[in-house]
């Protein structure tokens, strides 16, 4: 864990990426101010994955400066139309979401993997996701990321015995909400900021790593 953190920090510092502007020109050209989160396409067997993901996605998106339509409310609208799974949305044009909700853009998420791993000390959740933001005006993909994320779940006090006990307790009752929150923070790390963020349009030269598998 200690080394993992150090390696992660080093990788972060030395890795050279591409600027946000070069990677996601559409975000700066169209400047969507609102995002509608669509029901998830879940390719895993974990129903929990879907629940955890959608409960924690609004926060980082809104913190990035976007108006995020209240997911609980929009999901109710989808339910009224008989839609509970992302798979059922195939064939609906992006423009339709603009008419239905007045959304500038839509966020579609597919979960490919959601594995929980326990080690003697610590553990992690390994998640593979594809997230795509599409404009409801031009129909263009504005931001896309397909990546595998490893989110540590264990404790790391430096005392192996204490960590062992904590891990043993955690394995039974891990609170996955903060883990999903951490995951979503990682996912939207490369997003250009929206209009409600003070660095809106000031982050174009920020270097990021493209999340492509």
């Amino acid at each position: 864990m200690k080394y993992l953190l150090i390696v992660l920090i080093i990788v972060n510092i030395v890795s050279c990426g591409t600027t946000k502007k070069a990677l996601y020109p559409g975000m700066y050209a169209e400047m969507p101010s609102s995002i509608l989160f669509l029901p998830i396409v879940n390719k895993t067997t974990s129903a929990e994955a879907q629940l955890l993901y959608s409960a924690t996605v609004a926060e980082p998106l809104a913190n990035s400066g976007f108006y995020v339509f209240p997911i609980e409310v929009t999901n109710e609208f989808f339910k009224r139309e008989g839609i509970t799974l992302g798979d059922q949305l195939k064939g609906i044009t992006p423009l339709r979401y603009n008419q239905m909700f007045g959304a500038d853009s839509i966020l579609a998420v597919t979960i490919f993997k959601w594995d929980t791993n326990y080690f003697v000390v610590g553990g992690n959740v390994t998640v593979e996701l594809e997230c795509t933001i599409t404009s409801t005006k031009s129909g263009n993909v504005l931001w896309n990321q397909r990546k595998e994320y490893v989110v540590p779940t264990g404790s790391n006090s430096g005392n192996i015995l204490a960590d062992l006990i904590v891990t043993a307790i955690n394995s039974a009752t891990v609170d996955y909400v903060p883990i999903a929150q951490r995951l979503n923070k990682m996912v939207f790390d490369t997003m250009p900021f929206g209009k409600y963020h003070k660095r809106h349009l000031k982050d174009q030269e920020v270097m990021v790593q493209e999340g492509k598998k």
Partner: protein
């Protein structure tokens, strides 16, 4: 390592309070997840109280309420037939976030539609 720990703590502490874009979320994700995972009047009431608390604290801290919170609370109140309060929250959402205009209009349609049916 201690420094790293401190850094992590600081990061965690900052998450729990106000975001860089000036939003206070309280325990939103947690109570929402609980109300979905174990749906019951108790978990729903807890989530509703959290929404009220987020709005109260945001006001105290002189912050914009996070997007969607007023609309979500409005829907809960609409379901409780408290239409006056629901309407207040819906228009609050629209005033602060004009992006919600179409959604709010649809919500008000549903609310008044229900009333018509009752007549």
């Amino acid at each position: 390592m201690k420094f790293l720990g401190l850094l992590l703590l600081l990061l965690l502490a900052s998450c729990a309070t106000v975001s860089e874009s000036g939003l206070f979320w309280g325990n939103y994700s947690k109570t929402l997840y609980e109300s979905k995972k174990n749906p019951s009047p108790e978990t729903l009431a807890k989530h509703k109280n959290e929404l009220i608390d987020i709005l109260k604290k945001s006001k105290e801290l002189n912050l914009r309420p996070p997007p969607g919170i007023q609309a979500e609370l409005g829907v809960l109140l609409m379901n409780e037939k408290d239409e006056k309060s629901a309407r207040n929250y819906f228009s609050g959402e629209e005033v602060i976030y004009p992006e919600s205009k179409v959604l709010v209009a649809r919500l008000i349609d549903i609310m008044t539609g229900k009333k018509e049916k009752k007549k």
